[in-house]
Symmetry: C2
Subunit: 125 residues, 2 copies
DNA sequence: TATACTGTATATGTATACTATATACAGTTA
DNA sequence: TAACTGTATATAGTATACATATACAGTATA
C-alpha cells in the first residue's frame, strides 16, 4: 500500500493517511476484505508513532470504511454499494447544507443556486 | 442599533456582533452611509473591550460591508446592488465549491448533486 | 490650541483544541 | 511461549483563538 506523507503539508499526518486510504478504497484499489498493514508496521514504515497510525485507522473505522479486529488486524469493510453510496451522500450533504444556509441568509433563490452549482461542477472538467 | 450578545453562545463575541450587523445591512435596516456606533461606545454598551468591537468591525470591513475612517468613525458602505450581490455570490460560491470538490472525489454526478441541493433548499421552507 | 471624540498598533494573558507521543496493557495465533 | 495483532491512559508540545490593557495617532470643533 502506497502512502505518502508530506511534512510540508498543513494537514495532520493522521489525516493524510486516512484520506489516502479512503481514496484507495473508493477507487477499488483496495479490495473489500483486504487486510491493511498493521498499525505498527505502517508506523515503522512511515517513521511515526503507533498512535498516529492508530488514529488514522480510527477515522476510517468511524466512517465505516474499515473494520478492525483486536489482535487480528484491520480490513477493508465489506460494503454493499448502496451503503457506500449513502455514506458519500451524507458527506456531501453536509457541505451542501452549509452552502444552502448561507444562500438563504443572503437571499439567493434556488435557481441562482442551481446555476452556480452547475457552473462550478463543469468548471474544471 | 440593536446587538445582543449571548454568553451562552459558542460563537465568539466579535462574530456575534459582526453577524448581526451584517444581517442588518443586508436587510436594509442599516442604510447606506449610515454611521455605526464608535468602537468605544459599543464596547461600553456591551461591557466588552474596545479590541473586540474593533475586531468585529474589521471583519465587516474585510467583507466590504462597511468603510472605516480613522478619527471619524465607521459607516455602512455605499454599495450598489450589483456589488452587494457579487459579494453574496462569492460567499456562497466558496461553500458550494467545497461541496463540489467532495462530490467529485466521491464520484457523484451533477444530476445527483442538483437533486440533493433542491431537497436541502426546500427542506425547511 | 485644547479637548474630546474617532480609529490603530503592540504586546500580553488565557483557554482550548489539536497533534503526536511513550508505554504499559490485552487479544489472537501458531 | 513467542510474535504478532489492536487498545487505553497519561502526557507533552504546539498552535490557534479569544479577549484584553494601554499607549498611540488622526479629526473635529469649541
Amino acid at each position: 500500500m502506497k502512502i505518502i506523507i508530506a511534512n510540508s503539508s498543513p494537514d495532520p499526518i493522521y489525516e493524510q493517511i486516512s484520506r489516502q486510504i479512503k481514496a484507495q478504497i473508493i477507487s477499488g484499489e483496495l479490495a473489500e476484505g483486504e487486510g491493511l498493514p498493521s498499525i505498527r508496521k505502517l508506523a515503522k514504515e512511515l517513521q511515526i508513532s503507533v498512535i498516529t497510525t492508530k488514529r488514522a485507522y480510527e477515522e476510517l473505522e468511524k466512517e465505516g470504511f474499515i473494520d478492525t479486529v483486536s489482535g487480528k488486524g484491520c480490513f477493508v469493510a465489506m460494503q454493499n454499494k448502496e451503503f457506500l453510496r449513502e455514506k458519500k451522500m451524507k458527506i456531501v450533504e453536509e457541505k451542501l447544507g452549509e452552502a444552502v444556509n448561507e444562500a438563504k441568509f443572503l437571499g439567493l433563490n434556488i435557481k441562482e443556486l442551481q446555476e452556480m452549482l452547475y457552473l462550478l461542477y463543469e468548471e474544471d472538467e
